[in-house]
């Protein structure tokens, strides 16, 4: 069947119809379905690795969908001749790399290689289009400079000029402004908004900057794990609960006081405002069981000490790296009385003690004595549950000790989340 050269009226600029696509046999996108009308400014957002770039590659015909259809102005993308496709879509990559010393004008003229006749020598129209694209993107002054010598912002403007010189009806940007300084990214965005408003060119901006996307796009497509999770106006997509779930962290959405668009922010500021707890905790760990504990305790603002650990143990290395005071014993040796005494002094200074998920053997079971001592001194002890599962002593003394500790008032914890919650609670209670 001969494909009609005219583009159907009112067909969406870009339509994904139940598209599944990926590399080799591994699908990255699954059942993605949406349509972008001509003249819209749409932004695709989503966490790293969610399939944003794959979506762009599928939309440009670089990857063929294994299921479903991708339509560009009503025509299946793979039915388009490469040159025709280049007059419909212009792409601005993350970073345009030109290893050879082409000037800006030469790079922009490369944008005319699609519309031009195959062996054609550039004519007046080609030069006009290239020049107009350079004026639009404000790189005309740079036309005789080498592309590689430009700053990142200038390079992106030149890359945009190349895409504009194609005179496309839809322009797609793949994280193209993510690495630019704010002044340069604002300038590129202004250009994009201009071409969208004045030239009615459809814009599809892939971005991991949520705020930027919400600020300028008419519509957002939120992608997560290769699926389209939400498709709607910035107000509809920028929901605290939805974004927190997709991005896997606590996020807060507010209205921008000037533009009125939603602004998302992390909750780090809340963390920063939290007063530092003037508490010192001693950690009994080993074999890597302490690293995550150290990290979380330090973030929560505790002072941390540790021991007794063997030198070269990964926890000992971590403690050294994190400047955590630590009592050390020779590598691969049982904990001696001298080290024990030092650790005892350390525990005396501490406000509480945590027993990590460390396996116990005859060499380090002495550490549990420290916990018993802390309890006797009236200090709280948070002990990882199931010590008996990690008891490698010949006489099961660690499991026995754990039982004694529990009956003496040690609190058991399962996961680190739980431990942190308990710590908050108990410390607050003691404070009050």
């Amino acid at each position: 069947m001969k494909v009609p050269m005219t583009v159907p009226l009112n067909a969406p600029a870009l339509a994904f119809k139940a598209v599944t696509a990926g590399y080799g046999k591994r699908p990255v996108l699954e059942g993605v379905d949406f349509a972008i009308e001509e003249g819209e400014f749409v932004s695709v957002i989503g966490p790293n690795g969610s399939g944003k770039s794959t979506m762009l590659k599928t939309a440009t015909g670089l990857i063929h969908p294994s299921q479903g259809r991708v339509e560009l102005f009503g025509r299946e993308i793979s039915s388009l001749k490469p040159r025709e496709r280049a007059t419909l879509i212009g792409v601005v990559p993350q970073k345009l790399e030109s290893p050879m010393a082409f000037t800006v004008a030469e790079i922009v003229m490369i944008g005319r290689s699609g519309p031009r006749k195959r062996w054609g020598i550039p004519d007046a129209k080609d030069y006009d289009s290239a020049e107009r694209a350079m004026i639009y993107t404000n790189v005309l002054d740079l036309k005789d400079r080498y592309f590689n010598e430009l700053s990142a912002g200038e390079q992106q403007r030149a890359a945009l000029a190349m895409a504009l010189a194609q005179e496309p009806r839809i322009i797609m940007l793949d994280e193209s402004i993510a690495h630019l300084d704010i002044n340069h990214s604002q300038e590129v965005l202004r250009i994009l908004m201009n071409i969208n408003r004045e030239e009615k060119i459809t814009v599809l901006l892939v971005s991991h900057d949520l705020n930027l996307a919400a600020q300028i796009a008419d519509r957002l497509l939120l992608i997560d794990g290769g699926r389209l999770v939400c498709n709607g106006s910035p107000g509809e997509v920028m929901q605290e609960e939805l974004l927190s779930r997709v991005y896997g962290c606590d996020l807060r959405v507010q209205q921008d006081p000037y533009g009125g668009h939603p602004v998302v922010s992390g909750t780090l500021d809340a963390l920063l405002r939290r007063p530092r707890v003037q508490k010192r905790l001693h950690v009994i760990c080993g074999g890597g069981s302490g690293i995550e504990l150290f990290r979380r305790l330090l973030i929560e603002g505790f002072e941390v000490t540790a021991g007794v650990l063997n030198r070269l143990d990964s926890d000992a290395e971590a403690a050294r790296a994190l400047d955590i005071p630590c009592v050390l014993e020779q590598p691969f040796s049982a904990v001696g009385s001298e080290a024990c005494e030092q650790a005892r002094l350390m525990v005396e200074q501490a406000d509480g003690l945590i027993v990590g998920k460390v396996p116990f053997g005859s060499g380090n079971v002495v550490n549990l004595e420290l916990a018993a001592e802390a309890l006797r001194a009236g200090k709280p002890v948070w002990m990882a549950s199931d010590i008996s599962m990690r008891d490698y002593t010949s006489d099961r003394s660690a499991a026995r000790m754990a039982g004694l500790l529990k009956s003496a008032g040690a609190v058991e914890w399962g996961g680190i989340q739980e431990l942190m919650a308990r710590l908050q609670q108990d410390v607050m209670k003691r404070e009050a």
Partner: protein, 329 residues
């Protein structure tokens, strides 16, 4: 808007004057001394010998240099050239086999065709090894596997040489060192047709090569059938390298360095660069051959030695000064 990218007029003029001048000088050089041979019978013979060498040098140099230019553009790598990619090694193996076993079946085209066939097989092997894992291979894996396959080919050649009889051994070793002594006339004609056609076709692809230097993805976005253009230019460049190897043996250096110098002088636009490289490579090799045969008569230094020894320092100076006009990576 002025056409930036057309080479600077002074440079082009200098180039146009220098090329015939250098070519003329090389015709005057020979083991019999500097000057135009007299019109005696021996003088005519000397002149015809020199013309034969002149023609060989021009063809081989142009082919190697154009081939290097194309490989560098397609692989976007300043190190790419027929040798690094193993193409010359494969062609060499084919040519050595053809010389020793005899490729007489195919007539005049036997040597270049066997060389081309082996070069293609090598290129496919290199490409296959490099693209383990399915996706299109990275430049680094291509060059790594090129070096590996290349050394395998040269071991095969060594093996062939060591098991050949004295006469065959002599022929192959001389040929491997690089030797522009013309072979049969029909062979030369076939090679010339191949070289001129391949360079012509590549020149038609020059605008596409410009786009490809921005990477295959960008080329796709610019409406280029990137796969087809890559494949056809790789094939043509391989044909050039194989023909050059079958004509003149293993002459290194020309395919790597001449394209860089031409790029430094004329910029990276392949519409200009490709012809300039071909002419520059041809002239360079003719000149080197003239030096090789006249420096210490009656001994003839292998031309490959001269290309590296004479060309190296000279080109290093140019590249140190001008590299930023050629390649920024």
């Amino acid at each position: 808007m002025p056409v930036k990218g057309s080479p600077n007029r002074n440079k082009a003029l200098l180039f146009l004057i220098a090329v015939p001048l250098l070519l003329g000088v090389s015709l005057l050089l020979g083991p019999s001394g500097f000057g135009v041979p007299d019109s005696s019978a021996s003088g005519k013979a000397i002149l015809s010998l020199r013309l034969g060498r002149f023609f060989m040098g021009l063809m081989v140099g142009a082919a190697l240099s154009a081939s290097g230019t194309v490989f560098q553009a397609i692989l976007r790598n300043p190190l790419a050239e027929p040798y690094v990619l193993g193409v010359s090694g494969g062609a060499g193996l084919g040519a050595a086999l053809s010389i020793l076993v005899g490729g007489g079946l195919l007539g005049a085209a036997g040597l270049p065709l066997t060389a081309f066939f082996f070069a293609i097989v090598t290129l496919m092997a290199v490409y296959g090894i490099a693209s383990q894992g399915g996706a299109s291979p990275s430049v680094y894996s291509l060059i790594l596997s090129g070096v590996i396959v290349s050394s395998i080919c040269s071991s095969f050649i060594m093996f062939l040489v060591s098991t050949a009889d004295i006469e065959g051994m002599h022929t192959v070793v001389w040929w491997m060192l690089g030797n522009l002594q013309p072979g049969s006339t029909s062979g030369q004609v076939v090679s010339m047709i191949l070289i001129v056609t391949a360079i012509g076709l590549l020149w038609l692809l020059a605008p596409a090569l410009n786009v490809l230097t921005l990477g295959r993805e960008m080329a796709h976005y610019q409406g280029l059938n990137a796969g087809a253009v890559t494949m056809s230019s790789l094939l043509l460049a391989t044909l050039l390298a194989a023909t050059a190897v079958s004509m003149g043996g293993m002459i290194g250096f020309v395919g790597l360095i001449v394209p860089h110098v031409m790029r430094a002088l004329f910029g990276p636009d392949h519409r200009w660069l490709l012809p300039a490289s071909a002419i520059g490579g041809g002239t360079f090799l003719v000149l080197c051959d003239a030096i090789a045969r006249s420096l210490m008569p009656p001994i003839e230094i292998p031309v490959g030695v001269v290309t590296a020894l004479c060309g190296g320092p000279f080109f290093l100076i140019i590249l140190r000064r001008k590299m930023n006009h050629a390649w920024i990576a």
